[in-house]
Amino acid sequence: MTIKEKAVFVFAEQVDGQITPVSFELIGKARELAEKLDSQVVALLPGFKVTNLTQELIVHGAQAVVIADHLDLEHYRTEPFTQVISQIIEQYQPEIVLFGATSIGRDLAPRVAARIHTGLTADCTALEIEEETDRLLMTRPAFGGNLLATIVCPEHRPAMATVRPGVMIKRTPEEKATAEVIPFEGSITENQMYTTIQDVLKKGSSKHDIQDARIIVAGGRGMRSREGFALLQDLADVLGGEVGGSRAAVEAGLQDKSKQVGQTGKTVRPVLYIACGISGAIQHLAGMEESDFIIAINSDTTAPIFNVADVGIVGDAFKIVPKLTEAIRSERENR
């Protein structure tokens, strides 16, 4: 099997045999880039007993899959994963390699980039191929989201990037798609850089990932208390959504870190985002302004959140949210 020149490789991240959603988003974006380059998208799947996951990658747009199935790859560890990804890159010489900007991707990608000596751009929010030069233009927030910077990797190949989850769009699954699955031909060698996993502690917070939510009701410092967040939960429940929080709310202990929206939390693009008592620091806006429809409720008429809101309501969220919950509930019951 030969892989086309100028291929776009995507690291297919899986945890406990589940592919992380950002991997599908990356494949979606990679297909656009590969079409411009007249090439193809190859998913790289390291793991143990993961053969059953290849079809899912193909259904989402991978045009070939390189699979490395090995006991050392059962749980993510930096060194064996670095060995596999580096060897695959050296063998096939792709043009571009993409990783999700997850806590795994942001650990693995720099180690790989340093091993193969190439450039790496972190946390990209836009990727495109430059006309004429065919260079990859990688755009990312800088200075805490105050600026955007476009970065290129002129001479070294592949160009590598980690990409923020929730930003790129996955393709509509094609159930009947087929593609070649290629086994990894390199070797995995235990060395002094191996770490040992002594224990795994699952976090207690709920399983629902706010990045998958169609509707998010988010609260900030203005919601003041657990009682305030209980009002948001009622609204989220009646809408079938999830509750998120700003950094201020997370730091005040009102919301779990896994539900934080913003530059240092998660990027979300739900169908509906209701921001309650959130002033709208630029770091927060960076994580939610791509939402389809934004309602903001805040008592401060000058709050920057109103600059991105489709509907801005100046008022007391403690009074408005319960009434809104009630109005939606009765609307649904009367249908």
Partner: protein, 260 residues
Amino acid sequence: MKIIVCVKQVPDTTEVRIDPVKGTLIREGVPSIMNPDDKAGLEAALRLKDEQGAHVSVICMGPRQADTVLREALAMGADAAYLISDSAFSGADTWATSCTLAAAITKLNYDLIITGRQAIDGDTAQVGPEIAEHLGIPHISYCEDLNVEGSEVVVKRQFEDRYQILRAKMPALITALGEMNVPRYMTPGGIFEAYREKQIILWTRLDIPVADGDIGLKGSPTRVTKTFPKQMKQPGIKIETGVEESVQFAMDKLKEKYLL
């Protein structure tokens, strides 16, 4: 035990503002601080020193005025401080920065290297793992807790939905999360020592055993081609009426957009 902590001086990005007319960063009046994740890493090193005994060296790469973060580190309790500063190193991306720091580190003895997970002005989280790769040692990133047991370091490593308790043989590199601890304050005695007794050792280009092709802008595989302020979307409708009217307005809009 010998510990090296890498720290960076950064603008406090929470204080950065955009000039609304020119669309550029307003840097004047923005305070320079020790990067928060790095400061947590320094605190972790100082706690190991308190508990087990250790020699803590701090390294910073940056302009000459970055010596203030090294003085702060000395005043908190670090034993030695090195400033890597030369125009030959400027414009470095994460590859060139990590090559320079790794080469500087080879001049020192170390059992443990601690960096912050990421700096608030770049947010890349790349330099720590890249230093470890250049030195051929293991790294564990996203560290929320850390302990040294014999010749191994034991780390509570954060993931999105879980923690791993990981062990690595030393020498090893750890990248620290800001939330791992609350850094101590400088003490008056510490400040006195930092400015009067302790020295900052300055290393320039010739002091660092690194290839010309791996430093500064020329040694950087990546290039910034342009920076621009973020395009904000146009604001929608803002209303300032009573509670009932506001709720009714929101309901009308939700129905109009088929969101109910």
